[in-house]
Structure formats: structure tokens, C-alpha cells
Amino acid sequence: MTLLMKATELVGLPVVTVDGGEDVAEVRDVVYEPEAGRLVGLTLNKRGFFAGRMAEMLTIDGVHAIGRNAVMIKDPSVLMAPGDAPEVAAQGPERNVLGNEVLTDGGTRIGTVRDLVVVVGGDGRVVGYQMDKDGGGVAYIPLPSQMAVSGSTLVVPDATSDFVIDDLVGLGAAVDEFRARLGL
């Protein structure tokens, strides 16, 4: 079963070792590469009394699984020291697409991005956006694997308008159909 989660729901999840059953960190923020439509990794906070930002980050390759209740890692050795982390991780807020306006390539504005929708249990693939519709209300749009994105705007294919879904459950099926239509 494909489980979809909103990226902001990952924030605060404990990072737990499979072998040790220890909560070594918790998710501080999600690092996203919009052009590739995938998560690069997660920045981390310390757990418990000494809470605060952790220097190490967790790249998506180090993730064993992302579930509803925890991000699982094999053991703490997969946490990456700041010097070793991918460059994109250091760029931070510029990568943030939340709040971007969503334009179709025909030039129609359909809303603004509220959240990312991530396939949980997989490789950090982002399959859609949760969007505040211009007419009011919330909708989900499926994501082609590549798209144009700037600091303020996201350009999606015209066909996207046909695939605006009201609920997260319907998005999973819509993504496959949408990508098939685009020939991806």
C-alpha cells in the first residue's frame, strides 16, 4: 500500500534506530529539491532535555523508512556531519516552495503551495503538492517528475487542472494516471 504524508507532518517525528530502538534525534525540517521532486534529507533536532539544533543531518539515502510514527535509520552512523552533507542541504530557505504561486504553462494561476506530499516508506519521492485554491479551500495536485520552479512560482503542465483532487487519498491514483497522460 502506498502511504502518502504531508511533509510538514514529518516535522517532530522521532528518528529511531532499527538495531537499537533508541530515539537519536527528531525531524527539524525537510530539505527538498523541487526540480527533482524529491526530498534530499532531513535536518534534525536533539531529543529531550538538551533539545536544540543538531549539526548532523540525515540524507534520504540514510533513511531506512519513513512511517506515520517515526523515521527509522539503521544506526546512528548514517547521520551526516555538516561538511559531508550535500550542497543543496545548506541552501535552506531558497529551496522552499511553500507559499509559491502555482501557474499552469498556459498562464493560469490555480493557487499557492501549502505543503508537499511525500510517498512514505519509499525513497523520499514527492508526488504532489497540497495547495490553497484561489477560490478558497484546499486541494491536492499531482506532480510530474520534473518542473520549472523559481523562488516564488511553480509552473505545472496545463493538464494539472484536470487532476486537482480534494482529498489526499485520491492523490495516489491520480499521480499514476497523470504521469501516464504526460507520457512520463
Binding site: G20, G21, A65, G67, R68, A70, V120, G121
Partner: protein
């Protein structure tokens, strides 16, 4: 194979076969997580804890655990010290599948009284084979998702 429940075994009296004296009760167990075995029982807790390794147990019975007279000794290796501190007290602990979903609380495990080999894990309403056990830590017990 004689199968015993950990929940039932905790608190059971431990009796020396040398002088028939009760020397304590089963208060913790030492678990070998990768080996899926019970390595021994811990009498008492903390610094005063004594450990009876599996080889010192002559009979793991329903009414008493019989041990050789000289079998109880202070905690030795790191796992035994951690065990005496409650590190392997799995009952009631939060249980996560390795795909990151909570399965409920760890309710019991069963083991073969002859070898100490784990047989089954009981998590919430799930019964899992022993080899689903992946990790036991302060935050959670981790089990393999495929088995759930």
C-alpha cells in the same frame, strides 16, 4: 518444547538446588536481541543485582526456577548491567515496525524453557515470530514490518 511466557515468569521464585533456599525472584531477563534468546535471569536490580546465566538454570518450572547453588553472581558484561537497570524490560514498551509505524505496546514474549530461545512476540493484537525482533531500546522495541 516447553514454552513459557515472560509475563508469567517475572516474579517467580528462584531456588537453589544446593540447599533448597529461595535466593530471590526473577526480576529481569538478559536478552540477546540478534540471537533472539534469553541469556539469563536477573535477581533484584541495580548494583545489587545478581545474574543467573542460562547454563546455571537446572529447571525452569511453573512454580520455581531451580538453579545450581553457585550459579548466582554479580552482573558481568555490559548487557547484564543494562539488564539489571531495566534495559530489556520490554513488557509495556512502545513497539515500532521498522517501516516507522507504531504497532502498539509490547505485551509479552514466549521462550523455550530448555534453550532460552525466543518463540513468539506479542505486540498489541499481533503475534510475531521471534525472528521479527530487531532492536530493544529506551525509546521503543523495533520489529520487522513484513512479519506484522
Amino acid at each position: 518444547m516447553n514454552v513459557e511466557s515472560l509475563k508469567a515468569a517475572l516474579g517467580r521464585k528462584v531456588v537453589s538446588t544446593a540447599d533448597a533456599e529461595a535466593i530471590g525472584t526473577v526480576d529481569h531477563v538478559v536478552l540477546d536481541v540478534p540471537g533472539r534468546r534469553v541469556l539469563g535471569v536477573v535477581l533484584g536490580g541495580g548494583k545489587k543485582a545478581r545474574v543467573v546465566p542460562w547454563s546455571g538454570i537446572t529447571g525452569f518450572g511453573h512454580d520455581a526456577v531451580m538453579v545450581r547453588g553457585d550459579a548466582a553472581r554479580p552482573a558481568g558484561d555490559e548487557d547484564e548491567h543494562r539488564s539489571a537497570g531495566g534495559a530489556f524490560d520490554v513488557l509495556g514498551r512502545r513497539t515500532l515496525s521498522d517501516d516507522g509505524n507504531e504497532l502498539g505496546h509490547f505485551t509479552d514474549l514466549t521462550f523455550d524453557t530448555a534453550s532460552g530461545a525466543l518463540v513468539e512476540l506479542l505486540v498489541g493484537e499481533h503475534t510475531l515470530p521471534a525472528d521479527a525482533l530487531l532492536g530493544v531500546g529506551s525509546y521503543a522495541v523495533v520489529v520487522a514490518a513484513a512479519a506484522g
